[in-house]
Symmetry: C2
Subunit: 352 residues, 2 copies
Amino acid sequence: MVRRNKTKIEYPNSLDFSINYGPFRIPNFILKKFQITPQTISFYPHQHAKNIVLSLANFLKVKYENLIISNGSTEIFFLLPQILKFKRATIITPSFWEYETTLSLNKVKITFFKLLPRNNFLLSKKEFEKSIKKSDCIYICNPNNPTSTYINKTLLLNLIKKFKDKLFIIDETYLLFFKDYKSKTLNNEATKINNLIVVSSLSKIFSIGGIRIGFCIASKKNISFIKRFKNPYSLNIFAESILPYLIKNTKYVNKTREFISIEKIRVYEKIKKISWLKPFKPEANFILARIENKKISPRKLIKYLLEHNIKIRECSRFGGLSNKYIRLSIKTKRENNILINSLKTFHKLYRH
Amino acid sequence: MVRRNKTKIEYPNSLDFSINYGPFRIPNFILKKFQITPQTISFYPHQHAKNIVLSLANFLKVKYENLIISNGSTEIFFLLPQILKFKRATIITPSFWEYETTLSLNKVKITFFKLLPRNNFLLSKKEFEKSIKKSDCIYICNPNNPTSTYINKTLLLNLIKKFKDKLFIIDETYLLFFKDYKSKTLNNEATKINNLIVVSSLSKIFSIGGIRIGFCIASKKNISFIKRFKNPYSLNIFAESILPYLIKNTKYVNKTREFISIEKIRVYEKIKKISWLKPFKPEANFILARIENKKISPRKLIKYLLEHNIKIRECSRFGGLSNKYIRLSIKTKRENNILINSLKTFHKLYRH
């Protein structure tokens, strides 16, 4: 474990590049605010976590009535198709599995809009407009997982305003890693526009998948409708207690954003130099890459890295991607260098 | 705080009789099994908490495939009407608010079966059979909250077997306080019968409303159906870590059950002697009572008790009950005596 006393931010010792967490662990002092005692865990969570909604609303610069805090973003994704009774949805592929799963469960017909490697997985507005014509709702992960591509705000807003009869559900989980999150998020627009819902998970930016916190921003009308159907006690008392301290610690978030903005480009440039691997330009805190050499077995690569205590994400389960694709999260400089060196060594071994 | 070194069970210092928790706090050593660190909370919960399902299944003597662990029983109650598309339900009144709320949300027509004070809130089988005729699902809280009445297992099983086309959803949250829980629960029957689902919360028996654990037992077929629609990550890593230790600590549960079986009768007999208060015979870990003296203002009673640091549950929000009804949970002997004495003192003051 590397510890920088200057910033009091801990560095994780695991080399798990397969999960899209930020590179730094949250400072220990935040967790010390909450003591696990029989007393503390006897307190029921507040209805709709109302004791902390204002705190998160302030952080996000929206009003109390425009915000829901949820049990991860997953709770929202499972709920929306159930209560909004979509008939047909457009989802981008490859993307996060939960959109397809939760829509299929509710028998929503799905139009898949394919992002293609030959276009560097970038979205063509004209083609996309065609694909959403028959849909009543559109799911967009922005930036997208696993492609790490980003659709700019103006393009999105134009679409949303042009197709007022369609509901846009924008997952901004990875936008939270952007230095200019405040100017790029659609949070504020979502409070005013009825056909836009922004959903975000806090698991990735704070590396806290275990305590289950996500949020959802929409118009007052949409929020009250969703709240009616949502389990009002889905947060746990631990998540409720810790959230205000997490968001108060702006140093942690700022440091993460600052670091990612530079490090993702550095790692991208390094990987570009590996002849048998093609990285796609990353906008988020992870990089999608493709194994270009047909003689290289993806299975062997994964195995080799695991033997060296390095976990990466193999992407064959993402629609449209084969096992030639891997996803690498941006971790600390030291850790990223270990990964890059291991990738290089793997190839040297392979050649002999 | 009173501490019995012999058993290492802590006694709470608050006098909150308004929540239906057991009288004892879980031992601290159980909580020490889990350390809150950036590392521990970075672990995602397991899909459908599959790492601990077997442990709870063993405790309940059912199979892995017959059990779901949920974010409190609330998650199950919000989910069932959404996915099972009930048309008409019978619910008992007064009872737990969630049945009515979640059914209404999903536009299920509700037949209310009224338990009457003149029958000591006991259920008449003949009348109940009539009331469920047109329903496709029946919610029964057993023992019932807030009446603390119990419907015997044979009667229930006969109903369930007689009306095979109707789904019976039995909430056994308070049955967990029974000394003979193992012989009285319908858990085992639920695994074999397709029209029976047993739902229970662990919040009350362990006094852990803050960490959100409930469960649901049904046939393999029913369980796989519910699992498909359930948020697979709704438990938090803390709940997952602590549950196996909670259920391994059989001493705590046994002590609670043993104590409640005797103490509920003692408190009931004591309250019976208070002329202006009529308690109904309790089967669960709480007592429903009615203020019999018209000159006594329920508002004044609540206020008086609060001034003496005692919280009780006023019942006017339960269907069919007025503010003349109060609900008192069974706490430790010392605490129950403080409550009884305060009730007596209140009346003395009132007379003058």
